[in-house]
């Protein structure tokens, strides 16, 4: 009797204690689960359902929205661009990260370098977008990238040209259909010509330009001068070289006879040129059209053709440090002995890299690649910010298209939901891979 009462009396509190423990556990998880249920689980179900209805949400259309994705040209562009992103960006990032991770181990300032390259991970896509809008500015006087491109271009090709220069009316030069200028009257050896041009703004005059001068020509040569027939401040006489008037250096000049070029020259700092050793006869002195060609203006980075590669470039700037640090961590866990042994056996650095480092790193490289695929798939802000308004439709990807279709004027929430679901389906495999690996490494 006594034993019975004690056992019954003990079971009550134990069950009560158990119920109490459960209540505590539920109190611990409930806030998180409520939020997840209301704002994540319910929306997924809603989106899946909504994707089977039309734009207004009133008529059931079955798979029509999913079929529409592959018919609508804008969505097709988005799918194509997303494919480019997903293939190109992770590949380049993994490769670049690998190369930098291997190289940075060989220098003493590795830490500083890693910090510098990792820093953009802290920066918002918006700030990065503004940074690269500045860098990709098309005017080479403002965009640093085009300034560099034009600089390199002009090293290899003579950049000295006068796009705005033209002769005065009736001062002895005639324009040819190809844009070149030739002397109206024939020129014979032993004579000198003065070719006055106008229309070169003072700030575009080359710094080396000197006051123009003309000299007498010997019997078998034609001499001449190309100059700016304009006196700053006024007072100059048209067709005459006045004291303050300067030569136009670097101008190409040709002597033409019977339609063929027989001699070429380039004007000196004072604008003078000379064709020596000319046979008797009559010539035309010609200023070829190349002198007046507009200067090279660089690349249209944010034009329709290059906008996607340009934005991928900005993305590389942000994520390369991530790939490098992750691969570097894998690299530091490689067996040093294997690498050293190979080096002692006379293997070159390239052989060590190709035959030992890369195969041993393969698992880490896969992780980096897959992680990047997930993140690339969701890229939105960068495209939204960098692509200028009119080019946005050339740069669009699934994430931006989903936004445009649902909220940005399209207002087709059926198609928008279908795009969201497609995005979800595409991310799932990469995600499963990552979560599995995470769990393995945790256990």
């Amino acid at each position: 009797m006594t034993t019975l009462t004690t056992s019954v009396g003990a079971a009550g509190p134990r069950r009560r204690a158990q119920r109490r423990r459960r209540a505590i556990a539920v109190a611990f998880v409930l806030p998180a689960l409520l939020l997840l249920g209301a704002l994540v689980v319910y929306p997924v179900l809603f989106s899946v359902g909504r994707s089977f209805f039309d734009a207004a949400g009133t008529r059931f259309v079955g798979g029509e929205n999913y079929a529409e994705m592959f018919r609508d040209p804008a969505t097709l562009t988005a799918i194509r661009n997303s494919a480019i992103w997903v293939v190109v960006a992770p590949t380049l990032l993994t490769g670049l990260g690998l190369i930098l991770a291997v190289l940075v181990e060989k220098v003493r300032w590795a830490t500083a370098f890693k910090l510098l390259l990792f820093m953009p991970m802290a920066v918002s896509f918006l700030a990065a977008g503004i940074i690269f809008r500045l860098a990709y500015e098309e005017d080479p006087d403002k965009g640093v990238l085009n300034a560099a491109v034009v600089g390199v271009h002009d090293v290899f090709e003579d950049g000295s040209s006068y796009p705005t220069a033209r002769p005065r009316e009736d001062q002895g030069l005639r324009k040819a259909p190809d844009g070149s200028y030739g002397t109206a009257e024939a020129v014979s050896p032993g004579s000198a010509v003065t070719l006055g041009l106008v229309g070169v703004p003072p700030k575009e005059m080359p710094a080396e330009a000197k006051p123009a001068s003309s000299a007498k020509a010997a019997a078998d040569e034609v001499r001449g001068v190309v100059y700016l027939d304009f006196t700053p401040g006024g007072g100059g006489r048209p067709g005459v070289i006045d004291a303050a008037e300067r030569g136009l250096p670097g101008m190409a000049v040709e002597a033409v006879r019977d339609g063929g070029t027989v001699a070429t020259a380039t004007t000196a700092a004072d604008g003078s040129f000379r064709f020596a050793g000319l046979a008797d006869g009559t010539y035309t002195v010609k200023l070829p059209a190349a002198n007046f060609a507009p200067p090279y203006e660089g690349v249209s980075w944010l034009g329709p053709a290059l906008v996607t590669p340009a934005i991928i470039g900005a993305y590389l700037w942000i994520w390369t440090g991530f790939a490098m640090v992750l691969i570097g961590a894998g690299l530091s866990s490689l067996p040093r002995d294997a690498l050293e042994a190979a080096r002692m056996d006379g293997a070159s650095e390239w052989q060590v890299f190709r035959r030992i480092t890369v195969p041993l790193l393969a698992p880490v490289l896969t992780v980096v690649f897959v992680t990047l695929v997930i993140n690339v798939m969701k890229v939105f802000d960068l495209i939204y910010i960098i692509a200028p308004g009119p080019v946005q439709e050339d740069a669009t990807v699934l994430a931006t298209q989903m936004w445009l279709v649902s909220f940005g004027g399209g207002n087709n929430q059926g198609l928008g939901s279908a795009l969201g679901v497609l995005l979800l389906l595409l991310v799932i495999p990469a995600m499963v891979f990552n979560v599995r690996r995470f769990r393995r490494s945790q256990s």
Partner: protein, 307 residues
């Protein structure tokens, strides 16, 4: 994620380059080639570093030049003509009511979000790791599965829901959305970290008669500090830098800096004197956090990249 969680923090100097050991078996040409090769490596990395720093330098210098200077020439002319530089744009920015309000909105969104995510995830993570309740493991698996959901899928339905609740266009709405989408990863990370606490430690604490709440605050939270710090930094950064969520859920009085600046990108070119300092203001906070907490920062970003 062992490879990443054990990543050596960049603050610690990595292994010094192998000293020039005498290698008698190697021909002398080899050492010369090695030396030359190292020079090439240094030069290459220096160029890469320069390429990386140039865009930020461009932003900084542009932000210090007047609108007229920016319209007339490139920022690099300031390198030879430092007279162009002044803090006028920043003074103007601080006097710009829209920008300062947006800055405070950013703080009011990201700080509460971070605190809420950490608190809710720590509570749930502890329960999933150490407390008994029916269906525990299945529910945890479901939470992990939610990691896949991109925020894009939630935008439309939650917008409708918030519209009905009167949360649309408010800071609490933005915060709640961020918290919900930050939770799966946060719970996942903390549960896994808490699960590694030795069982004996917890049992000893229970023997001493500590309630679950006491154990949670006195034992689990202190032990979990490294993971919590990484999570907090990652979450803060994620929300501070977000544009997409706020673009939809915030109205003009609750919008953060990213959205405020985004609305001005349309006139890009004519307003660099506002955009450049604004972007710099938006990036300086995360960069300071980055340099102050390098170790937790790198680990947080690495762990968070599974998202």
């Amino acid at each position: 994620m062992s490879a990443t969680v054990t990543a050596p923090p960049p603050s610690q100097p990595s292994a010094p380059p192998p000293p020039a050991r005498p290698v008698p078996t190697r021909p002398r040409g080899g050492r010369l080639r090695r030396w030359l090769g190292n020079g090439l490596v240094q030069a290459f990395l220096a160029v890469v570093g320069l390429v990386w720093i140039t865009p930020v330098a461009g932003l900084l210098l542009s932000s210090l030049r007047s609108a007229n200077d920016n319209a007339a020439s490139g920022w690099w002319t300031a390198l030879t003509g430092p007279g162009q530089l002044s803090l006028d744009n920043y003074t103007a920015l601080l006097g710009n009511a829209g920008i300062t309000r947006a800055f405070w909105n950013t703080v009011l969104i990201s700080v509460p979000t971070t605190v809420l995510v950490v608190v809710l995830a720590a509570l749930a993570g502890y329960a999933f790791a150490w407390l008994e309740f029916p269906g525990r493991d299945w529910i945890f698996l479901a939470v992990v599965a939610l990691l896949v959901v991109p925020v894009q899928v939630g935008l439309l339905p939650v917008a409708k829901l918030f519209g009905q609740l009167g949360l649309f266009g408010t800071i609490p709405g933005v915060v709640l959305f961020h918290v919900a989408y930050g939770l799966p990863f946060a719970v996942f990370l903390l549960r896994n970290y808490f699960a590694d606490i030795p069982r004996e430690m917890l049992e000893a604490a229970r023997m001493d008669g500590g309630g679950e709440w006491r154990i949670f605050t006195r034992l689990v939270l202190p032990v979990g500090r490294p993971a919590i710090a990484s999570l907090a930094i990652f979450q803060f950064l994620w929300v501070w830098n977000d544009m997409l969520v706020a673009l939809l859920f915030a109205d003009s009085s609750s919008q953060p800096l990213t959205v405020e600046l985004q609305s001005q990108v349309r006139q890009f070119g004519s307003n660099i004197d506002v955009l450049a300092p604004g972007a710099f203001l938006s990036l300086i906070v995360p960069v300071v956090v980055f340099f102050a907490f390098q170790r937790h920062f790198v680990q947080g970003v690495m762990a968070g990249s599974v998202k």
